[in-house]
């Protein structure tokens, strides 16, 4: 029987199949961070277990780290305590640890690929739902809970029923000013936040084939926002080119052997999908969200739909617009914004900073805007400097912060104050996500840049050369 890309990778990692139960599923690579791992390590100890394969786990500090003055001690005692726990647990069990200040430190889903830990055909988990990012390389990657982090530490396996399979095709050529973020927000708006629950997604079609690896990561990253456990894209020359020569990728003969296998990682003709959807690239505009979940998005030139025209409960929809202080029929363009956040595991890569710089070059930050520009890693930060982007953004009145998850989930001091409106390149616009009472509009780095220089929600196509 013909197999999908997902079948090939999944089936080759099943240690045991339990009748009317989950598969015992082997994990090649495991990322941990300071927030969802401490209780897992406590579990390892309290049950008198050990870490089975410490060389398969990689620790990085990112979720609650400050994005200024990282050379100084972390002020928040609770955050400092979690960072210390990560460092001590890693040291105790011989796990690689990239703490604050380490050259390789950054957001887990940015540093994994940068350092060649993420590989095609691998299984990758982390106690973080945006682990789906790594699917961009043809890996099966998804988020897990802390109990499962303990399982991986102890046995390198988790227990998962095989999800159903969905293929999402987007064909054609993307329009001017339309980015990978817009493609993802468009699909989520079409499917809603639960439209892919129970499925693992494969993205196919020329839009994804033509996308950079950074763009593919942005798309796969957002798979969880339509409810999918993960999403993946078949590896191709671009993938191999990206990973070749990185610290943890196979070298010499091992590379050749791996390449032989990786080239087989494609969905075969006639393979079965439980669901298949196809969209046209030309229908996609720069997107923006207007509500309190990522499915509440629309083309930036549209007006907020009426409750009667959207799926789901009327009361829930009105509660959401009430929180946002918006009304049905409102236009988003022209709404005054207070904060702009460029960063996160969704849009904290070099390509995102290039996009931002392309708009702010020769312009000035609007006075009413507080902007947080947070690179996803030190490696991204270095590239920003090397490519001269730092000069451009500095000249435009912006400053660059140090790497971390930052205002995406506001566990550190980068909190949007109550009632304030932020245009954010991150992944969630839930109530209070960026700080208690904060209001979030999700959008691409281009929309964020256009808004940052005008002070109001702006269609980037009006500023792009």
């Amino acid at each position: 029987m013909s197999k999908t890309l997902f079948d090939k990778v999944w089936d080759s990692h099943v240690v045991r199949n339990i009748n009317d139960g989950p598969d015992v599923f082997f994990i090649d690579r495991h990322f941990i961070h300071e927030v969802t791992s401490p209780v897992a390590f406590l579990g390892v100890k309290s049950r008198n277990n050990t870490v089975l394969y410490p060389e398969r786990t990689f620790a990085t500090a990112d979720h609650n780290t400050p994005t200024i003055n990282q050379h100084l001690p972390v002020e928040d005692p609770l955050s400092a305590n979690q960072l210390k726990a990560l460092e001590e647990n890693a040291a105790e069990w011989g796990i690689s640890h990239w703490g604050l200040g380490h050259r390789n430190n950054g957001i887990v889903h940015v540093v994994g690929p940068e350092n060649g830990i993420t590989l095609p055909g691998a299984t990758i988990v982390c106690g973080d739902s945006h682990t789906s990012t790594h699917g961009a390389f043809g890996a099966i990657a998804f988020g897990i809970g802390t109990s499962e982090v303990e399982m991986v530490l102890t046995t390198q396996c988790i227990m998962q029923p095989k999800p159903k399979k969905m293929r999402i095709n987007v064909n054609g050529k993307l329009g001017f000013g339309v980015t990978s973020k817009d493609v993802a927000l468009y699909i989520i708006a079409k499917l809603t936040t639960s439209g892919a629950t129970g499925y693992f997604v494969e993205y196919a079609g020329d839009v994804f084939e033509n996308m950079t690896m950074e763009g593919r990561m942005t798309v796969c990253n957002l798979s969880i926002e339509m409810g999918a456990r993960g999403g993946m894209i078949a590896p191709d020359e671009k993938t191999f080119e990206y990973i070749k020569g990185r610290t943890h990728t196979p070298k010499a003969a091992a590379w050749d052997t791996a390449m032989e296998y990786w080239k087989t990682l494609k969905t075969e003709e006639g393979a079965f999908f439980d669901k298949e959807l196809t969209f046209n690239a030309s229908d996609i505009e720069p997107m923006i969200t207007y509500g309190t979940n990522p499915g509440m998005g629309m083309g930036i030139t549209n007006n907020i739909p009426n409750a009667s025209d959207v799926e789901g409960g009327d009361a829930t929809y009105k509660k959401s617009l009430g929180y946002m202080e918006f009304s049905e029929g409102d236009s988003m363009i022209g709404k005054e914004v207070d904060f702009v956040f460029l960063g996160s595991c969704t849009n904290g890569r070099i390509e995102d900073f290039r996009a931002f710089a392309s708009i702010v070059e020769g312009r000035k930050k609007a006075d009413n805007i507080t902007a947080w520009l947070v690179p996803g890693s030190h490696i991204v930060e270095d590239k920003i400097k090397e490519e001269g982007l730092l000069d451009i953004i500095t000249e435009a009145g912006f400053t660059l912060r140090e790497p971390g998850c930052s205002a995406c989930l506001a566990m550190n001091d980068d909190k949007v104050p109550s009632g304030k409106l932020a245009v954010s390149t991150s992944n969630r616009n839930f109530e209070g996500r960026q700080g208690p009472g904060s209001r979030t509009l999700l959008a691409s780095p281009l929309v964020a840049a256009a808004t940052a220089v005008t002070g109001v929600v702006t269609d980037p196509r009006t500023l792009l050369k």
Binding site: L42, G145, T154, Q156, I158, M159
Partner: protein, 198 residues
């Protein structure tokens, strides 16, 4: 034994008829800074439950003494978003042993099963019946029968069956968890690991 055994639970229920309740609402990120699994129930639905000055919001269901019980009945797509297991811990620590919804997000459902909170998925029609039964009598009881895989509205006797795979069911009935299972097959896993190229 990893957690309490679950067999038959008969209890009144707390209704939360909002759709797409995400785990950031169940427990906001700023309360994830503990390094131990303690006290998360205090911050369950923190920003819906308390004002910024920490006074309770009177109109939120957890602050309404009319409603109580060990069962939380949520709207469609309950537990979406972040994978934080803290959300399931908060539900458990507050005193709930079962969450009922017409649709669950994957990771939240998994996390619940791993810590001994039973997620019971019902049809939209049955979910509506439960909400209206609680609306007309807040003390109305639900019976969750895990061995029989049924959920019953005690007042009317209306009942529906729910799905759970036999492996997880056995775990819940006996208070076992996946780690107990995995540790027993460690040598099989070690053999498998030798076949992995990277």
């Amino acid at each position: 034994m990893a957690y309490d055994k679950f067999n038959i639970l008969t209890s009144s229920a707390v209704p939360l008829s909002i759709e797409n309740v995400d785990t950031d609402q169940i427990i906001p990120a700023r309360f994830l800074k503990a390094t131990e699994r303690k006290g998360f129930g205090d911050n369950l639905f923190r920003d819906w439950r308390y004002n910024p000055d920490n006074s309770p919001k009177r109109d939120f269901v957890l602050n309404d003494p009319t409603y109580s019980g060990k069962i939380l009945v949520g709207g469609k797509n309950f537990g979406s978003g972040s994978s934080r297991e803290h959300a399931a811990w908060a539900v458990y620590d507050y005193g709930f042993r079962c969450v009922v919804s017409s649709f669950f997000a994957d990771i939240f459902r998994n996390n619940c099963l791993n810590i001994g909170v039973l997620p019971v998925q019902v049809s939209t029609a049955f979910s509506e019946k439960i909400f209206s039964a609680i609306a007309s009598d807040p003390n109305t009881e639900l019976e969750i029968n895990l061995p029989e895989q049924t959920i019953t509205l005690k007042s009317t006797g209306e009942s529906e069956s729910f799905d759970i795979n036999s492996y997880k069911k056995d775990n819940m009935l006996n208070g076992f968890d996946d780690i107990d299972y995995l540790v027993k097959m460690k040598s099989e896993i070690e053999d498998f690991a030798t076949t992995r190229p990277f």
